[in-house]
């Protein structure tokens, strides 16, 4: 039917939701990378503790933000129920909530044996209790420890993918309703996680020489992820500028905005990509401490800008 239409952005899931998506993806990917590193690349208790604790704080903070914005807080119990994914297998929030819950539980149990041995963390009051010590020794035993690590890592991957799938499930908005979104958000989550780990290893963990190989691995992984992200952004440009009205208006909003062009693509993707590439071609990063840290910070800023702009530039075409 012939109707007038208006093009509108939404005012419900704004910057606060971008923060939730950012912290969720970043925290979950950080845990996944550190646990897989600890299990299969190099046993590294300190890194696993750092990854798990920062990841827990981020995912916990993001989830708290979402909880605050619920209209009916008491009803959240229905989505925390593990059976929710059987009642509502088509709802990504149900899956995401379960991924987050299981990831947080499994990651805490995974690092508990490490925390008990840590001279710093044993000073915490709860760690010294008998129950925690017993739980730690059970969780740290052989196969169970590996199962917990895998559960946390896979749930973390699930959380990172879920942040994109959630947006993809809104059919009215062309910018969101396409398979590129989960790919972009997953790649961005792991790219920002690599950057965060590089940052942690270069600052808080005292640049242990034995970790040089690991740092280089994260840097190279980040270059690949940034290159993939640049490619996906180019594909989005092609899709949006030649797509439906909703897509074209989104393209106008994004690709005529200096914050998106210079902030996200320039500072958040291209600059760290070139800095990390330069570090490789100059034969390692011994003398490039500052540029490595700067590149990691730029990637982290870019990750947030991506999500904030994506939430802001989604266009609804309403019949009026």
């Amino acid at each position: 039917m012939e109707v007038n239409v208006t093009y509108e952005t939404q005012h419900l899931w704004t910057t606060w939701f971008a923060v939730y998506l950012y912290l969720g993806g970043l925290g979950a990917a950080t845990m996944t990378i550190t646990f897989l590193t600890d299990m299969y690349l190099k046993s590294h208790k300190t890194l696993a503790i750092w990854g798990a604790l920062t990841g827990l704080m981020m995912v916990g903070g993001g989830s708290a933000l979402l909880f605050i914005h619920l209209a009916n807080h008491a009803a959240v119990v229905h989505v925390l129920n593990p059976l929710a994914i059987f009642f509502k297998p088509d709802a990504w929030i149900a899956w995401g909530t379960q991924f987050i819950s299981w990831m947080m539980i499994a990651s805490l149990l995974y690092i508990l044996p490490y925390m008990i041995e840590s001279p710093v963390l044993t000073k915490l009051p709860l760690i010294k209790t008998k129950i925690v010590s017993r739980l730690g020794s059970v969780a740290g035993s052989g196969n169970l420890h590996k199962i917990l690590g895998m559960l946390a890592a896979l749930s973390g991957l699930g959380v990172a993918v879920y942040t994109g799938l959630l947006l993809q499930s809104f059919p009215a908005v062309a910018l969101w309703n396409n398979p590129g979104v989960p790919i972009l958000f997953t790649v961005s989550a792991f790219s920002t996680a690599c950057a965060l780990l590089i940052l942690i290893m270069h600052t808080f963990m005292g640049r242990d020489e034995q970790d040089n190989l690991l740092r280089r691995l994260y840097e190279r992984a980040d270059i690949l992820l940034l290159a993939t992200e640049l490619l996906v952004i180019f594909l989005f440009y092609m899709y949006l500028t030649r797509g439906s009205i909703s897509a074209r208006v989104s393209a106008d909003l994004l690709f005529h905005d200096l914050g998106w062009l210079l902030g996200f693509i320039g500072l958040g993707l291209l600059t760290p990509f070139l800095l990390e590439l330069k570090s490789i071609f100059s034969g390692g990063h011994g003398g490039n401490h500052i540029s490595t840290i700067a590149a990691a910070i730029f990637v982290l800023i870019g990750g947030f800008l991506l999500r904030d702009y994506f939430m802001a530039a989604g266009i609804y075409v309403y019949p009026t």
Binding site: W13, A71, A75, H78, A94, S169, P171, T320
Partner: protein, 203 residues
């Protein structure tokens, strides 16, 4: 099988807004913040001297393939076999995913404040918990053998209610003939609200 649908004839809507008032009283909507389950848009269409006025009533389309249902994580949004898309107030946690998913802007949020103000405004407010709300085709009236409040009150008989599975039903005939069409069918939502477009005429 019954599949309820609404037919809205834009030629006979006079823009009296009685449907909005009837709906608000029947369903206790938060009118104090200008939020309605059904809303009549008042439009001027055309340019220069060739301008006409059109009243365009909107409401939840009770889609056969509703995006609001698939994104709802708690199962609060559900679909009855007769096609009505409803909300279970007790299950709704008010995450807003349904509002984000709806391409027709049919949903709105009810906050704790709205519940408090609603008790003052309506006296005996049926809804007790915050969450999301939308048109339910007056399911409580349909179940009692009556028509939705907006249909019953429409002075121009612009709104008609019927059954798409009844071949003798006027609404079903108009929908099947293609004279009445849904909004934005390209989205694949298969809405159950059909519109007869206005005929172009000089006044």
């Amino acid at each position: 099988m019954t599949r309820y649908a609404m037919l809205i004839d834009l030629n006979t809507c006079v823009g009296c807004n009685a449907c909005m008032a009837a709906c608000a009283i029947e369903n206790q909507t938060p009118v104090w913040k200008n939020v309605w389950r059904t809303y009549v848009h008042d439009q001027e269409i055309g340019i220069g001297n060739d301008v006409r006025r059109r009243f365009f009533p909107r409401l939840c389309n009770h889609c056969e393939n509703p995006p609001c249902l698939t994104v709802c994580p708690t199962g609060a949004t559900y679909q009855r076999p007769d096609g009505l898309v409803l909300i279970d107030d007790n299950l709704c946690m008010g995450c807003g995913a349904c509002e984000m998913a709806c391409p027709y802007r049919a949903r709105y949020e009810l906050t704790y404040t709205d519940i408090r103000e609603g008790k003052v405004f309506y006296g005996n407010l049926r809804r007790t918990s915050p969450g999301y709300d939308k048109c339910n085709f007056c399911a409580q009236r349909i179940d009692a053998g009556r028509k939705p409040a907006c249909v019953e009150t429409c002075v121009g008989a612009s709104r008609l209610f019927g059954d798409l599975d009844d071949p003798h039903d006027y609404v079903a005939k108009m929908a099947a003939s293609g004279i009445a069409q849904p909004l934005m069918p390209q989205l694949g939502t298969r809405p159950h609200v059909y519109y007869i477009n206005e005929m172009k005429r000089d006044v």
